[in-house]
Amino acid sequence: MLAKILVVDDSATIRHQLRACLESGGYDVIEAENGALGLERATNETVDLIIVDINMPVMNGLEMLEALRAVPRKASIPAFILSTESSKSMVERGKKCGATAWIVKPFKPEILIKGIAHVLAKARGAA
C-alpha cells in the first residue's frame, strides 16, 4: 500500500506542485487548505506524513501541529513544515510543536522526496 501524505497549504498552486512531486515519488496524496481542515483530515484518516505550511487563514500550521500532537495515536505522525518563514524563533516554535523537519520555500523536489523516504523508513523501522 502506498504511504499517504497529507498536504496542508492555503495555496492551490503549492498543493498542485506538491501533489505532482509526491505522486511521481510513489506516494498517495490528500489535501487540505488550512490548518483546521488539515487537523480534521489527519485526525479522521490514516496519514503517514504531513507537509504543512505556517501562514494560513483559519488555523495556522503550528497551531494545527500543536492540536494534532494532543490527539491520542496521532502524536507521532512525522510532519514537515514547508514555509516561507525561516527565522530562528519560528523554527524553534516549530520544533516545540513537534515538527520533524523544516523546508524554506521554494522546495527542491528531489530533496523533499529523499527526506520523506528517509523519515518514513525510520518510522517503519521504529514501529
Binding site: A20, T84, S87, A101, K105, P106
Partner: protein
C-alpha cells in the same frame, strides 16, 4: 543598484517657466523628467506606474490644471502634485482639493526641492536596503518562478496602483520595519508560469491565476525576509490578498515611496512587476554572519 530613477512629469508651455536643468542639477534624487505641453497629453500619465510626481505650471491654464489634478486624485491618489502659479489667488481655484505644494513664480528651487525630497525621499530606501532587497526578490523569483530572472527596469514611485491585470499584496510587519510587497502579472504570463510549474495539469482558471500570484508574493516576501534577517531586520509575513482587473477596489497607497521592479526571464513576455513599499524603517541594515536559519529549499531536521 545605485541608480533608482524617479520620474517627474512636468507640464508646462514653451515659455519654459520651470528651469529643468536647474531642477535636475540641484535635486538630491536622480530624476528623469518627462515633459508634456498640454493637459490632454499629461492625462495619459495619471494612471502610469512610472510617474513619481507631477509638476504643473499655471500657464497651461488654471482650469486645465485643476482638471488634471482632479483626474490624478481619481486615478492615482497620493502621487504628489506640485502647482506653479503666476497668480496670487491660487487656492480658490482648487476648491476642496489641495495640491502637495503651490509655488509662486518665479520658482524658489530650494523650497521646491526640499518639498520634493520630503515627498519622495524615503529614508527607507538607503542604497544598501535597495541593493539587498532587490537582490533577495530577484533571487527568489529565479529560483521559484522565472528561470534566469533579472531586473528589466527599476522605478521609484510615491504611490502605487497595479501594473498588470492580476495582483496580490502581502503585508510585512516587525519592530524595525513595516510595509508591503505587491506583485502583478498578466493572465498570459501567469498561465505560462503555471504550466512550467505543473505541466500535466489542465489550464488554470482565473482563480488559480490569482492563487499563483498570491503564492508568488508570499515566496518573494519570504526571500526578502531571508536576506533582511541576515542584516538584523526581522518581520512577520501576512497573508496575501489577491484581486483581478484594472478597476480593482484595492489601491495600495503610501507616502513613503516604493521601489517598483519589472522582472523578466529569458522570454521578455514573462514580465512580473514587484513593488516593495516600506512605510517605516527604524533600523538600518547591518550585514552579519550566518544566522543559523534553514537554507532555502534545503531540508533541515529539527
Amino acid at each position: 543598484m545605485k541608480h533608482v530613477p524617479k520620474r517627474l512629469l512636468v507640464e508646462m508651455t514653451a515659455r519654459n517657466v520651470i528651469d529643468l536643468d536647474k531642477l535636475n542639477e540641484s535635486c538630491a534624487h536622480p530624476f528623469e523628467l518627462v515633459t508634456e505641453s498640454n493637459v490632454f497629453a499629461a492625462s495619459r500619465w495619471t494612471t502610469s506606474p512610472d510617474v513619481t510626481a507631477f509638476i504643473v505650471d499655471s500657464s497651461v491654464g488654471e482650469v486645465a490644471a485643476v482638471e488634471l489634478f482632479r483626474r490624478l486624485q481619481q486615478d492615482s491618489s497620493g502621487v504628489p502634485f506640485v502647482y506653479v502659479s503666476h497668480e496670487s489667488a491660487v487656492l480658490s481655484c482648487f476648491g476642496p482639493l489641495l495640491p502637495d505644494l503651490i509655488l509662486r513664480s518665479p520658482i524658489n528651487y530650494e523650497v521646491l526641492l526640499a518639498r520634493l525630497d520630503e515627498l519622495l525621499g524615503s529614508p527607507a530606501f538607503s542604497e544598501i536596503m535597495i541593493d539587498v532587497a532587490t537582490k533577495g526578490i530577484v533571487a527568489t523569483m529565479a529560483r521559484a518562478f522565472i528561470p534566469n530572472a533579472e531586473i528589466h527596469a527599476l522605478r521609484f514611485r510615491a504611490c502605487q496602483h497595479p501594473v498588470h491585470e492580476i495582483n496580490a499584496t502581502i503585508p510585512l510587519c516587525g519592530e524595525a520595519i513595516s510595509g508591503h510587497v505587491s506583485v502583478s502579472a498578466s493572465p498570459d504570463t501567469l498561465k505560462r508560469l503555471y504550466h512550467r510549474m505543473v505541466p500535466h495539469r489542465p489550464p488554470p482558471s482565473g482563480r488559480m491565476l490569482e492563487d499563483l500570484v498570491g503564492e508568488m508574493s508570499n515566496q518573494l516576501l519570504g526571500g526578502l525576509k531571508g536576506v533582511l534577517t541576515t542584516g538584523g531586520i526581522d518581520f512577520a509575513l501576512g497573508i496575501p490578498m489577491m484581486y483581478t482587473g484594472s478597476s480593482c477596489p484595492v489601491r495600495y497607497r503610501c507616502r513613503s515611496g516604493s521601489i517598483l521592479q519589472y522582472i523578466r526571464g529569458s522570454d521578455p513576455a514573462d514580465e512580473v512587476a514587484v513593488d516593495l513599499a516600506l512605510y517605516s524603517v527604524r533600523k538600518g541594515y547591518e550585514e552579519s554572519e550566518a544566522t543559523g536559519t534553514p537554507e532555502t529549499g534545503e531540508l533541515a531536521f529539527l
